[in-house]
Symmetry: C2
Subunit: 212 residues, 2 copies
C-alpha cells in the first residue's frame, strides 16, 4: 500500500462524498417525482430509478418511503430558505422592499417543492404513520420560513399586528400555491400579491398605531 497507514482514511473521504451526493440526488428526485406524479406513485424504487441509483443503495439511505419523503421535504425546504435568505443583501427599502419579498414568497409557493409538499400533507392527512412525522416537520419548516420572512421584510414583530400580518403573508402564499396547482394563474397571482404588498407595507410602517 503506497500511502501506508493513511490509505484507508484517504479512501474514506471520497466515499463519504459519493454517499452524500447519492443521498442528495435521491432527495431531489423524490421532490420532482412527488410534484409530478403524486405521492402514491412515488415509491423508493421509482425515485431510485429517477435518480439513477440502485434500489439497494436507495434503501440503504432511506429504509422506508416515509424516511425518504420527510427527509426530502426537510432538505429541499432548507435549501430554498437559504436561497430566499441570500436575497436579503440586494433588497431595496420601503414599499419596493415589501413588494420584492412578497414576490419571492409567491415564487416559493409555486415551486415544485411546494407542489410536492401539498401532496405529502394530503397523503399524511389520511395516513397515521406519515402524519406523525409530517406534523413535526411542518411546524419546523413553518417556524424557519416565518423567521426568514421577518428578516427579509425587516419587520418589527413587537409592533401590534405585525406578527400576524407576516403569518398572513405565508398563509396567503400557501393559498396562492394551492390555486396554482391545476392551472397557471400567474397573472391573477401577481395582481393579488401587489395589492397585498401595499397593505402589508402600510401595516409594517404604521405598526405603532393600533390596527385591530
Amino acid at each position: 500500500m503506497r500511502f501506508g497507514g493513511r490509505s484507508t482514511e484517504i479512501l474514506r473521504e471520497p466515499q463519504q462524498d459519493r454517499s452524500r451526493a447519492t443521498r442528495q440526488r435521491l432527495l431531489e428526485a423524490a421532490i420532482e417525482c412527488i410534484a409530478e406524479q403524486g405521492f402514491a406513485g412515488s415509491t423508493v424504487a421509482v425515485v431510485a430509478e429517477r435518480a439513477g441509483v440502485s434500489r439497494g443503495a436507495a434503501q440503504h439511505h432511506f429504509p422506508t418511503r416515509e424516511d425518504l419523503v420527510t427527509s426530502a421535504v426537510e432538505y429541499v425546504s432548507a435549501q430554498r430558505l437559504a436561497v430566499l435568505r441570500s436575497h436579503a443583501v440586494d433588497l431595496p427599502v420601503g414599499l419596493a422592499r415589501t413588494r420584492e419579498v412578497v414576490t419571492l414568497i409567491g415564487r416559493m409557493y409555486t415551486s415544485p417543492l411546494f407542489r410536492a409538499a401539498i401532496n405529502v400533507w394530503v397523503a399524511a392527512s389520511s395516513d397515521e404513520r406519515l402524519r406523525e412525522r409530517v406534523i413535526g416537520l411542518e411546524a419546523q419548516v413553518g417556524r424557519e420560513s416565518h423567521r426568514v420572512v421577518v428578516e427579509l421584510l425587516g419587520a418589527d414583530e413587537s409592533r401590534p399586528g405585525v406578527r400576524e400580518a407576516v403569518q398572513a403573508t405565508l398563509d396567503l402564499g400557501r393559498g396562492l400555491g394551492l390555486a396554482n396547482l391545476l392551472s397557471d394563474d400567474g397573472r391573477r397571482r401577481r395582481r393579488v400579491l401587489d395589492q397585498w404588498a401595499a397593505m402589508l407595507a402600510e401595516t409594517l410602517a404604521d405598526g405603532d398605531r393600533p390596527t385591530a
Copy 2:
C-alpha cells in the same frame, strides 16, 4: 286502479323524490369519505356503502368516480355558498361586518368540504382525466365564492385594489385551510384572520385612495 289514469303520474313523483334523496345521500357521503380517507380510497362502491345505497343504484346515478366526485364538490359547494349568503341579512356594519365575514370564510375553508376539495385537487394534479373536469369546476366555484364574498362585505369593486383584496381574502382562507389539514391551528388562525379583517376593512373604506 283507484286513481284511474293518473296513478302512474302520482307514483312517479315520490319515485323522483326518492331518486333525488338517494343522489344527495351519495353526494354528501362522497365528501365525508374523501375528507376522511382521501381520494384513493373513495371509490363509488365505498361511498355507496357509506350512504347505505346499493352499488347498482350508485352506479346508475354516477357511472364513474369522476362523475361522483365532481358532482359532490359542485353540489356541496353550492349548498355551502347558499348558507354563507344567508348570513347577509344579519351582518353588522363597518369593521364588525368585515370581521364577521372573514370569520365565516375561515370557517368555510376548514370544513370537510374543503378537506375533500384539497384531496380532489391534488388527485387531479396527477390525473389527466380528472384534471380537465376539476379545472372547469374550480373556476366556477371560485367565481361564485368571489361574488358571494363581495356581496357579504358590501365591497365596491370599482375602487382600486378592492377586487384584489377580496381575492386575497379567499386565497388566505385557502392557505389557512391547508395549514389546518394535519392539526387544528384554530387559535393561530383566529389571530391571523382578526389582523386580516382590520387591514381589509381599511382597504374597503379607503378604496378611493390609490393603494398600490
